[in-house]
């Protein structure tokens, strides 16, 4: 049994998608930029929510339409995505403990933010992640085992960004928001109606690069969505060390709307991101989405959160668990049965096994990989050093042969 992301995608990067729900094609002519940032639809809601922690569907005049046609099958799909992502994440954490990975950055608790936003993207959209967007990668159809290479230390990014329009993980905080903006400028120049989404954290909001990406995207009216997962912590620092007002408000001073969404509500994340992506497509420029969520685990496997935060905080957030919430909703709506959960459990197990096996089978890179891909067009010094390295390596073989 192989397990694949529900929507494994064919590689493509240009516009004119055949994606099911897209009305792909030429970009709408950019609307005149309004002099003041319009707020998100429905005024300035402090927190957009479509599902309560108890799984109750609440109405939203502004956002309901973005999930109006959603089928039970699609809801189960979202549930499945979250469960499998969490399973993958847990497996990776375990693999780190077993020494198979050097490090792991868990997304535990952020499944709804990532699956909701990830599923809102269209095939021809382009995603710029941080180092934690395993759930978004899943939605984009990136084979999850590919994500593990950099954490195992066999590469610095093990997939072709253009195969799934999912850029490599970026570790330097905030840097990718500018890449996303530039990419989006290019999309607009091409006249395509694709959109771009850039992920970043609450901590990242302090980086100058993020501010500059706001400026560039606003000035060029670039079709980009800034998706900030405010998981309350930047390693040991609470969000108050980065801002004294809610982060979504940051956008307005740059001339585009910001909205805060319940980041543990997959439906709300899906709806709000769809809204923001549609703005981008229709020439209305950038949007900031702040997904209000929680990093349930450590920052990475190297981190020890007991040093800086209390258990009670975690417990309070557990009650808002994104997976539990959708499960309650599915059950209350009679959209699921025993079989569904049993099948999903088996699928999870299979995924775990596949990941485990794939990681263990991952070979160490060839030594000469050091010298590969430093330059696209070559570089004399790299060639020289590679040759020296080869001679040096060979000298051991000689010495051993000579013994």
């Amino acid at each position: 049994m192989t397990v694949e992301s529900t929507a494994a995608r064919t590689p493509r990067r240009s516009a004119g998608t055949t994606g099911t729900k897209s009305t792909a094609g030429k970009r709408a002519p950019a609307k005149k930029i309004s002099a003041t940032a319009k707020n998100a639809p429905g005024g300035d809601p402090e927190l957009v929510q479509l599902l309560t922690p108890e799984g109750k569907r609440v109405k939203s005049a502004a956002y309901d339409k973005y999930v109006a046609g959603i089928t039970p099958d699609e809801l189960r799909g979202l549930y499945r995505d979250m469960v499998l992502t969490r399973r993958f994440d847990a497996e990776a954490t375990a693999l780190q403990r077993q020494g198979e990975l050097g490090l792991w950055a868990s997304l535990l608790g952020q499944e709804a933010a990532q699956i909701g936003s990830g599923r809102a993207t269209r095939e021809d959209d382009y995603v710029f992640p941080t180092y934690r967007e395993h759930g978004v990668a899943w939605c984009r159809g990136v084979d999850p085992t590919n994500l593990l290479g950099m954490f195992r230390g066999v590469n610095n990014g093990g997939w072709d960004p253009n195969s799934n329009n999912f850029h490599l993980y970026t570790i330097v905080i905030g840097a990718q928001t500018l890449h996303a903006t530039g990419y989006a400028m290019g999309v607009a120049m091409d006249g395509a109606d694709s959109a771009v989404i850039a992920y970043f954290g609450d901590g990242a909001s302090s980086q100058g690069d993020v501010a500059e990406s706001f400026t560039f995207s606003a000035v060029y009216n670039a079709p980009v969505v800034f998706f900030c997962q405010n998981n309350q912590w930047a390693i040991s620092e609470p969000t108050e060390k980065q801002t004294r007002v809610p982060l979504y408000q940051r956008a307005q001073g740059y001339g585009f709307p910001g909205v805060r969404v319940d980041g543990n509500d997959v439906l709300a994340c899906l709806a709000v991101t769809k809204w923001a992506l549609e703005r981008a497509r229709s020439g209305e420029g950038p949007t900031l989405v702040e997904a209000y969520t929680y990093r349930m685990g450590a920052h990475t496997t190297s981190d020890d959160p007991t040093k800086y935060r209390a258990d009670e905080e975690r417990e309070a957030w557990e009650a808002k668990d994104p997976i539990l919430r959708l499960r309650r909703h599915l059950e209350a709506s009679n959209h699921t049965d025993e079989g569904f959960f049993a099948e999903l459990e088996a699928e999870s197990e299979a995924l775990g096994r596949r990941v485990r096996e794939a990681v263990r089978a991952m070979p160490d890179p060839d030594h000469f990989a050091i010298f590969e891909n430093v330059y696209a067009d070559g570089h004399a010094l790299v060639d020289e050093e590679r040759a020296q390295f080869a001679a040096y390596q060979a000298s051991f073989a000689d010495a051993e042969g000579g013994n």
């Binding site: 290019g186 067009d377 010094l381």
Partner: protein, 330 residues
């Protein structure tokens, strides 16, 4: 050289301008971006007239933020564009240093070769124009040390024209240092001549007693020094490196094996400058050939001084000749 239909005498700045124009004409993916590059045509007029002819979406005035300029250029390159980015002055490249070092330089390797970033970063550099602080620096060593980048610097109009063509065609990021004090120096440019490789040094003048190595603005000074030395009966070979990374050690070595003496000249501070790398490697390659240690002439370990002191700070004819004499005295 006889002036042909395709050969003309151009100031170095204008040669770059025409090279950019040609690139914009030839390849719709080429973009020019930076502060004031549009209507104004850049503070040195290197991009003069380009926005008028190619429009605001090909020749882009950017917000005043260097990290943003390079960062969005990376994104544009990821989308298939070939941005040529202008940093207004040498001293203003540092806000973009993070994007250059951690992203531009490394993304090709990070992606195991999947991603190419054909971005040219143009930087007018060097002193000698009587400018205020931050407008006269030579930070090339800070880029050459970083793998993934190529670093070049033309010394004359023809090289400026052709090296820009080649830099734009390169699939690697190229830091293109323009010798601003030579912007107005005219030179013959043949726009049809097939150029040599981008990273190959060129013997500007042959000589037998000592090799002078330089690049960018210092090549002319070395030629003058060779002239002056010739009057004293000394035959100096002058080598224009053209490229700092990769650095054409083979050509330097070949020259030094003949002349047995080497003096390196650059405007940047000597300490940890290009001269150090050249001295170290050439000494290793030519240990038994060298009659004297490789000597270096460059800036001092001090901030680039105010304009009224720059003559003392910069390598001068006398300082080069002094080093030549010291080398020959071994």
């Amino acid at each position: 050289m006889a002036e042909t239909m395709t050969s003309k005498s151009l100031p170095l700045a204008k040669a770059i301008n025409e090279s950019l124009r040609r690139a914009l004409e030839t390849d719709p993916k080429v973009l020019v971006m930076g502060e004031d590059v549009g209507k104004l045509g850049g503070v040195f007029r290197v991009t003069d007239g380009l926005q008028k002819d190619f429009g605001e979406s090909r020749v882009i005035d950017t917000p005043l933020a260097e990290s943003g300029i390079v960062g969005t250029a990376i994104g544009l390159a990821l989308r298939g564009y070939r941005p040529v980015v202008e940093i207004q002055f040498d001293g203003f490249v540092f806000p973009a240093y993070d994007q250059i070092v951690t992203q531009l330089a490394k993304m090709h390797a990070r992606s195991l070769g999947k991603v190419k970033l054909p971005v040219v970063v143009r930087i007018p550099y060097g002193g000698g124009i009587g400018a205020v602080e931050h407008h006269s620096e030579s930070p090339e060593a800070l880029f050459a040390h970083v793998s993934g980048l190529k670093v070049v610097s033309p010394s004359n109009a023809s090289d400026a024209y052709w090296m820009m063509q080649q830099a734009i065609q390169s699939d690697d990021p190229v830091i293109f240092f323009e010798p601003k004090r030579r912007y107005w120096d005219k030179g013959e440019v043949n726009t049809e001549a097939i150029p040599g490789p981008l990273h190959k040094a060129r013997i500007v003048r042959e000589g037998t007693d000592l090799t002078l190595v330089a690049y960018g603005p210092m090549v002319k000074l070395c030629q003058e020094a060779a002239d002056a030395a010739a009057e004293e009966g000394k035959s100096l070979e002058v080598l224009d490196l053209r490229s700092v990374s990769p650095l054409d050690f083979d050509s330097v070595q070949a020259s030094v094996e003949r002349t047995r003496r080497l003096v390196v000249v650059h405007e940047a501070s000597v300490f940890f400058g290009s001269g150090a790398e050249i001295a170290a490697r050439i000494t290793e390659r030519c240990f038994y050939h060298l009659e004297a240690p490789v000597l270096r002439v460059g800036g001092y370990h001090a901030p680039y001084p105010p304009a009224r002191l720059e003559e003392e700070y910069l390598p001068s004819l006398d300082r080069v000749l002094d080093a030549v004499d010291r080398s020959l005295a071994y």
